[in-house]
Symmetry: C3
Subunit: 363 residues, 3 copies
């Protein structure tokens, strides 16, 4: 996403002392014509005018205040926007299934579900409080040619969504620490998030509480990072989400790969992706192959559902802020998996295909 | 509504290249003291401090980016605001009754229910994607002296609200095309909207999908337009909303008229309006008579409910942005109709009256 | 709270005539690490990353238009923000229990629950329409060293929350009048708010309707104010909320006190507070003792629940906009009261303690 497109001049209430301060209104409106088609028993095809096929639609407010002495304070409030129908998105209040639900049709208002944080930062790094992305999500989206959006989104975790529960992407009630920039290419962050249950609420009193960390190293064309995370859950068993990912920019193409290993109690999930971005004039070709498999580790053994996806896309930049794009994806299912694309249903062990055509405008 | 009242200077993240671009924060806060009174059995009177008696209260964000070569990209996110209590408004996600509901008391958050679109425009016109007004709504509101707001709002469709379902005013998941300006007074638009149901969902699989178009011609004091629309509905039968409307500006007064013909399955609705706007110094007198009748076309025949309304109002502009206003309306019902005004109940075939006094402030 | 930090230059749509006008985007993001601990049977301890420990988190839009001749129009739309999880807050649509509810988990969107008003003001004062603070709330928050926020919040009404129902802090559908400034230190306001029920809805047809007024006098170091209010309620009996409060600024410390007398039907509540603010360099020590007691006036007599709280805190200002803070509070319960702190449970007649550590950033 393009950032900082609007920097509003700040006039402090009692003077003009805070010259380095700014507040920014920003957002993305991404509309997608999305076709999906399944095969076999119970399958469907479907057309939707949906959103976020290239970048997630959003509206946000953020700002930074220079406190002097290298210290700064900042805030970030960012809401998801479903611009096909005008609704917002729900959030999760306690990092547990009890903290989220689906609003009745057409009533979901804007929440700052994508991020709502306040930070203090210095040359020692940044402390960030509120609802924020989890460390382990960054490797999945940064090292996915499709940025975990649209029909081409990496399948490294798609089968395991139900496994990884509430914290695959973001956590509420979080306390995060980020290493400062300029550490010779080394970067990292750690996060703690609270489930906030009562101490006397029984076996689940620590559910929703978790820890995560991510470290990486970027140098020249090279960037690699790993992340680990653990969320307590007394109902389904502890949730682990770990991954490692990287990219090499060859100039003519940027090659990416990622490997994800999740577990929920005794159930394991493994996913991987290989893909790339190929610049073409003012545009970019995107390509990826990704796969995910679930092992229930049951006795007697049960089948391990598995899905794989090919995705090919092209983004044409009309400007830094505006792009048109298209993506085609084809997905295979086996061992009981029945994962569809673009909201269409597909049969058990049947393939699915989908096409996105859209426009992304940022501000 | 007044537009573009705030144009925020845009500083592009990587330079000052996009000089023609802008992002605008805009809105209207309109508060209304509203009295309603019914007559006969089961009637009531009621006082409310409500909203939008003159213009619909809203908060919005919109912007345009000049892409060069006559091409531009733009976005528009506009939320309804009930400023008497602070709630937002619900929306409809699929242009069907299944896509909308009423939030529990006091919980409805802001949605961009009024409009949430992204557009590409050139000298060939504009393509617009998202949630937008339906073409057929424009004739009803533009050629109504009361702009479909407040106690004086045109009654050309009021009896038939249940007939015309979810798409009388706006549609989600829409793809719209607008003719370019400067066609010698000729203007027009077409819209397609998707119900987005699964192809295998049975008889209703195309419900909520529809088509609409509007064409008009404006020249000097003269402006006339017609619109047609059709929305698929397997439950109540296809929904047609068609109308024609126009105005002539005589200088001392602007005369308006409209005729609406709707149908839902075998049931027809017919409405018409005649009215006018009379400028008086910094203010304007508004007057309208409108009527609506429903024919069930049942056998044996049943009564055709009918309602008519007289409305008289005055708007006093304190500035371009701020106005105070008042409207009085009196409504008649017959053949089983029991339509009240301003939230008060009236008896079957009884009349109702209502008064608005309010202030409209835009920004 | 700090105000007016961003004043957006306004360019009127049709010229630059409104030079004195402005629209302001403003807000507060306050994140709090909150520990609570109870004692006795059924008690718990609890840790939360919560919000608004010092000032209430919010996002707002407000503006003023100079209409000339001493007249101005203004609007104010302000939403509560739970920045620990991104949700908004619910509101109340009719000043009755039927006008509010709790959204399902994680779905509460932004509403302008804190304030949504439009005003006309002149040298005769201000008329304000919409959802606004009640007059009686101002004494409780202004003359509380902890500003009715966080673990140290005044206990002058805490036991009686259920008594005072929906209008302790704000009212919807309100019409307010404010005396002009510059009356030699004398200030005041009056408010009417509508329950908006149908006239034929039975005994409750005036429920939620109420009246309130506040008058005060500030001169040099001295400030004192009193407020009265009455809200109709046919179910529990009329609700009265009355208080008087004041402060004296001795320079080395600002001493505050308040007394609150509420009633709902036959049940009375009485609360009082004494506290102070002590400036220390760029910071401020805050201290308060407050107490509340409920008398059911039942026959035969029942116990009168009573709670008292000691609170001590320190706020360190990093700038005018950014502060870090901590507060410790200890609460006693007797006669059947079991009021906990910071979301932890405590036993009947048992004490509770709580600690806040947080950061407040305003923009």
């Amino acid at each position: 996403m393009k950032k900082s497109l609007i920097a509003l001049a700040v006039m402090a209430a009692a003077g003009a002392a805070s010259a380095q301060s700014s507040v920014t209104l920003f957002g993305i409106v991404d509309a997608t014509l999305a076709w999906g088609k399944g095969n076999g028993a119970g399958s469907s095809h479907r057309f939707q005018l949906t959103n976020s096929g290239y970048n997630s639609s959003r509206l946000g407010f953020r700002g930074t205040e220079d406190l002097g002495g290298g210290l700064s304070a900042s805030f970030w409030l960012e809401a998801g926007v479903n611009n096909d129908d005008g609704t917002g998105s729900n959030t999760n209040t306690n990092n547990q299934t009890t903290g989220t639900s689906t609003a009745t049709a057409g009533t979901q208002g804007l929440t700052f579900n994508r991020r709502s944080t306040v930070s203090l930062a210095g040359n020692w790094g940044e402390v960030r409080l509120g609802r924020d992305y989890t460390p382990q999500f960054w490797n999945r989206t940064i090292f996915d040619p499709f940025g975990t959006n649209g029909v081409g989104t990496a399948l490294t975790q798609a089968v395991g969504t139900s496994l990884t529960g509430q914290n695959a992407v973001r956590a509420s009630n979080s306390i995060g620490y980020f290493l400062p920039a300029r550490l010779g290419g080394f970067y990292g962050q750690a996060q703690y998030y609270a489930g906030e249950n009562q101490s006397n609420s029984g076996a689940n009193h620590r559910d929703g509480t978790g820890y995560a960390a991510r470290v990486g190293w970027a140098s020249g064309p090279f960037n690699v990072a790993g992340a680990v995370s653990y969320t307590r859950n007394s109902v389904v068993g502890g949730i682990h989400q770990n991954n490692i990912a990287g990219q090499w920019d060859f100039g003519v193409a940027k090659l990416m790969g990622q490997y994800e290993a999740d577990s929920v109690g005794a159930t394991d999930g493994r996913g991987w992706l290989i893909g790339g971005l190929i610049p073409v004039g003012p545009g970019e070709i995107r390509i990826a192959y990704s796969s995910f498999k679930v092992d229930f580790n049951a006795s007697p053994a049960v089948a391990s559902p598995e899905s794989s996806k090919w995705a090919l896309g092209y983004v044409h930049n009309l400007s830094k802020r505006t792009a048109v794009y298209t993506t085609y994806a084809h997905q295979s299912n086996k061992n009981g998996s029945a994962l569809g694309l673009n909201g269409a249903l597909t049969g058990v062990n049947e393939s699915a295909s989908g096409l996105d055509i859209g426009i992304r405008h940022s501000f």
